[in-house]
Structure formats: C-alpha cells, structure tokens
C-alpha cells in the first residue's frame, strides 16, 4: 500500500508533522471564531506557504481547511453563532443542547462525528482518486475543456443562493482570469497599461478582497453574541450510552451525504451539512425533537461537512478542478510552486499525493485531541471580542498581500475587490463561485483553443468524442435545469 510505503514516511518527518499541527491548530482557531472563514484563513496563510516545500504547504493549508470544520461547531453550540458557514445547521440542535446544560456532550459528539466523517472521506480519497486519475489519463484538451465547463456550470447551479446569480459570478471570475498578456497572441488584455497587471494577478488577491475585506466590513458592529455562554468542564463532556447508540446511523448517513457532495464542484461542506440535516429529519418518525436538542441533528451534519471537505481533494488533485472555493485557492498555491494538478500527479509526485493523504490521518488525530481534552482553551478564545479581532485580520491581509511582491499596488487591488465584493454581497451575490471561475477560466480558454485547433473550428465535432459528449450533455442538462427553475420562480412570483 502506497500510503504506508510512501505517504507516512513523508508525513511523519518532523517538519511536516510540525506544519500539519500548525495547520489544524490555526484551523480550529479560526473555525471557533465567528466572522473569519476557513477560506480567509487559507488565503492569509498562503503567502507564508510560498516559502515551504509544496507538499508541506498543502499539508498545512489542508489542515487549516479541515481543522476549521471541527472548530466551527464550538461557536454554533455555545453561542448560537456559526464559526463557519458549514456549521450553521449545527446551531439548530447544538444550541438547544447547550441551553439544557448538555454543551459538553454536544461538543464531544460533534468532534467524534467530525472525525468519523473525515475518516470515511479520507478512505474514499485513497481509493477513488487513483481510479479517477487512471480514467483521466486518456483525457485530451477536448475532454479537459468539457470537464472544466461542467465544473464551472456545476459551481454556478449547485451552490447556495440563486443559481443565475452564481453563474454570473462564475463568468465574472473567468473574466478576471483574462487579465494579463495572452500567452498565445501576446495581446495585452485589460491591463490598462499597468505593468503590475501584465502577468495577471494571483488568486490570493481576489480571495483576500472578496472574502477577507468583505467579511470584516460586513461583521463590524453586527457580529453580536446572543444568549449567554456556560463553562464547559471536562467531566461534563461524556455523552450518555443512549447518545452513542443514537448517533451511530446518523453519522454514517451524514458521511455518505458529505462524500457525495464533496467532490462535486460548487457543492462544498455547507450544502452537504444542510442536506444531511434534512435527510436526518426525514429518517425519524418523530421529527418534532429536531430543533430541541436532538443529538442526531448535530451528528449527521458534522459528519457530512468533514467528509465533504476531505473528498473535495479528489477532483482537485486528480483533475485540477477544484471542488470548492477554498480548494480553488489551494490550487492557486500549487500553481505557484509550478505544480499543475492532474491525472499524472499521483504517478509523477507520489510523495506529494500520498504524503498529503497520510497527513489527513495525522491531522485528524491531532484534531480529536485538540477538540476533546483541550476544548476549554477554545471556549475561552470564543470570548475574544470582534473589535480586537478585525484589526488583526486587516493587518494580516495588508502584510500578507504586500509580502507577495513587495508591492503596495497589490494591496490596493485587494481594497478595490473588497469594495466590489461588499457591493455584490449587499445584492446577494455569492463570492465562492467566482473564485472557481477565476482559477478554471485560463485553463478552460487554453483547452478550448487547443481543441478548436484540432477540430478546425467546428464546435459540434467535440460531440464525436464520447467522454466529451457525456460531459457536455451533463452541462446542458444542468443549464436547462437552471433555466427551468428561474422561469418557474418568475411565474410563481408574478402570480402571487
């Protein structure tokens, strides 16, 4: 098994264990704190990761990403305020449990469920990623183009919020991706004569603006704690025997839902957790206990979001198509290191692939330790008010972006994107699909051009390739579905 012969020797070096721990520690930290998302945290640490070996960088950033899913439930349970969006649904039953004096067992159960979901997700990555990579080895530009197109449309149509707006954000991201000198013709595209834009700009700048700055502006004076918080002692953590019996099947169902939605582009942990909760409600005859502190209602979504986070690595590492906006940012980190994720990654860089997977096991065990015996630390961190937090976030954004190229111009771009992001947020446009569009846009253009050269400009010739035709057909189905939903919404609204 490559995991043991290649993966663990890489992941168990002192430096990789150290950065894995740093990643999951900081991940839990930002996960616990409401108002700062995992994506912002990954973007904040990205400049630091440029100095690391690519494997170590992905181990750390990955740890940050799945660590945030553990931490996020703490705020949901204790404050009724989700630490990250994918833990919002945990508030529904987690907070009532805390009100009943069962905050300890709730925290224990979410950690166990998270670990279970992550373990199932990681096992799936181990077995499915090599299979998918083998299948994708035969891909040419036409297949890549159609697979990425499907990914983009899926990112738009399956995310949260109104589909047509998400699709518009995807296309906006693709447009931002055009900026810079065209590698094929040498045309200066949307550079406005500014030398800093000739090579385009890294995804971190977009992510810091649309997520970091926008989040800060939207949270100041608005992020208020509701209710009061009790202290959690270690003795009160243990769930009852009955709890353990009741969470068994919800965890399995949650992990299954999460593993299904994780690899699909656009449907990340947030959607997985909401759907897992909805399914859980359907599975019980007595649905009235949900919302009143049902342990099933926290076990299933927490297993789902962690399974989704782990499985979102499958398409990213094997096809180069990010499964979520955070994965898009991480893909950007790999590209900076000169690594183009694709089907050859597992063969050409087995240390990276298996090392990262082995680090998932190590990181999740760290997280179990951090979140059960040491839960008291995180409860105390929750009491840090946002007015001390946001100056810190702003400093990290400024210095992090400035340090990329020692350029104040880059920080200026972050501000512009931050304002644009806030305006679009006010109008209910989600920024996540845009990041996926930004990272996939240039690749799609490249593969589109190449396949058009091969078919001599005949778009319909693409349908002669079976795999391509399959992807394109799925794309058309998704777009038709979006159109149908949009039209139905108009009709419903105009009748009422």
């Amino acid at each position: 098994m490559d995991l043991f012969t290649i993966g663990f020797p890489v992941a168990l070096t002192a430096i990789n264990i150290g950065y894995c721990f740093l990643g999951v520690f900081l991940g839990t930290f930002v996960g616990v704190l409401p108002g700062i998302s995992g994506l912002t945290a990954v973007a904040l640490l990205l400049p630091l990761s440029y100095q690391l070996d690519p494997t170590t960088a992905i181990i750390m950033l990955g740890g940050l990403y799945y660590g945030a899913e553990y931490g996020g439930s703490t705020a949901s349970i204790l404050l009724n305020l989700p630490g990250t969006a994918s833990n919002a649904v945990t508030c529904l039953d987690g907070y009532p449990m805390a009100r009943q004096g069962r905050a300890g067992p709730a925290l224990f159960i979410t950690s166990i469920a998270s670990f279970f979901g992550a373990a199932i997700g990681t096992i799936l990555v181990m077995f499915l990623a090599p299979l998918l990579a083998k299948f994708a080895l035969s891909f040419h530009s036409a297949e890549y183009f159609s697979a990425m197109l499907l990914g983009l449309v899926a990112a738009g149509t399956m995310g949260q919020g109104r589909q047509i707006k998400n699709v518009a954000m995807v296309v906006l991201g693709m447009t931002f991706g055009v900026i810079g000198i065209d590698t094929n013709t040498g045309a200066f595209r949307y550079t406005f004569g500014i030398a800093n834009l000739y090579d385009g700009f890294p995804i971190v700048i977009l992510a810091m603006g649309f997520f970091g700055v926008t989040e800060v502006i939207a949270s100041i004076n608005r992020l208020k704690f509701v209710g009061q918080m009790g202290d959690v002692s270690l003795r009160s953590l243990m769930p009852t025997k009955d709890d353990f019996r009741r969470i068994r099947s919800p965890m399995i169902r949650g992990a299954a839902v999460g593993s299904f939605f994780g690899p699909l582009p656009g449907t990340g942990p947030t959607i997985a957790s909401f759907i897992a909760y909805a399914i859980e409600k359907k599975c019980h005859r007595d649905a009235s206990k949900f919302g009143n502190g049902a342990v099933e209602g926290i076990a299933s979504p927490e297993a789902a979001n962690n399974a989704a986070v782990q499985t979102s690595f499958i398409p990213t590492l094997t096809l180069g198509i990010p499964g979520s906006a955070t994965m898009a940012v991480m893909l950007g980190a790999l590209l900076v290191h000169g690594i183009q994720p694709g089907p050859k990654l597992i063969i050409e860089q087995p240390e990276l692939f298996w090392g990262v997977i082995a680090s998932f096991w190590i990181g999740n065990i760290f997280l179990l330790i951090l979140n059960i015996p040491f839960i008291g630390i995180w409860v105390r961190i929750l009491k840090v008010p946002y007015k001390y937090l946001y100056p810190c976030i702003l400093c990290l954004i400024c210095i992090g972006v400035y340090s990329l190229n020692n350029s104040a111009f880059d920080v200026g771009m972050v501000i512009i994107f931050g304002v644009l992001g806030y305006i679009l947020k006010l109008m209910d446009f989600e920024p996540a699909p845009m990041l996926i569009g930004f990272i996939l846009g240039p690749m799609i253009e490249e593969n589109f051009r190449r396949s058009m050269v091969i078919t001599n400009g005949d778009f319909w010739a693409l349908f002669e390739r079976p795999i391509t035709a399959g992807f394109l057909a799925l794309t058309v189905i998704l777009l038709t579905w979006m159109l149908y939903i949009s039209l139905k919404e108009i009709r419903l609204k105009s009748i009422s």
Binding site: A168, T175, I220, N221, M427, V453, G457, S486, S494
Partner: protein, 146 residues
Amino acid sequence: MKNWKDIFGGGIFVLLGLYVLVTAKSFGLGTAARMGGGYYPMILGAILMALGVAISLIGSRERGSPLSINFFPLVAVVAGLWCFVFLIDRIGIIPAIFILIFVASAADLERRWGGTAILAFIFSLVSWLLFSILLGLPIVGIRGLI
C-alpha cells in the same frame, strides 16, 4: 417594492459585460480555428450581458428586501487600508499599521481612543518584529530609523 438589489446587480453585470465585449475586439478576434486574444473574452462579455439582463428582468418581477449597508465600517475600513497602501513604501510598516488600525477602529461603536492607541501600538510593533525581524521580509520598520 421591486427587487432593486437584483435590478441594480444585474445592471452592474450588463455594464461590465458591455465593456468586456467592446474592448475584446481590439485584442484581435481571429477565427474559431485560430482564435485571437479577443475571441474568448468576447464570449464571456456576451454571457455576462445576457445573464445581467436576465437577473434584472427576474428582479423587476418580484418583491425584494431593502438594502442594509454597514456604511460607517465600509468607509473606515477602506480609508484605513488606503492609508496603509500610501504609507508602507514611504515611511515603513510601523506607522502604516499604526494608522491603519487607528482609522479602521473608527468604525467600532464601542471604541475608546485610549484603548485603540494601545492596540495600534502593540499591533504595529508586533507586525514589525514578526515579519521584518523574525520572518526576515524586506520591509522597513520606520524609514531612516529601523
């Protein structure tokens, strides 16, 4: 009340798409088999416009909720960040961070200026120690001094 959020939001996309579409011509369109630099952006611009029109149309036929702009934080945060941009290369990281925090804190309804000054002082010093000294990034503390 109509859904002005979507009507305006769609409008932004229409204008952006129009700009992208019109300027794409100057990059050279080429043919489908030999695409110029403008072929792909032209497609994107057209899609942006079409989606923008659709979003506005849907918005004009339904009811919406009013905007709730977090106005003061928007101004304070943006002003603070611009201060950083203008100061970092001219006078160094310590004053740039100090002023960034001072200006951005103006947004906080519960701020006390004394506390803000202490916070700004600590953050500017820690940033300098962490990034310039510990991580060794080429950023000066205060130009001409450290």
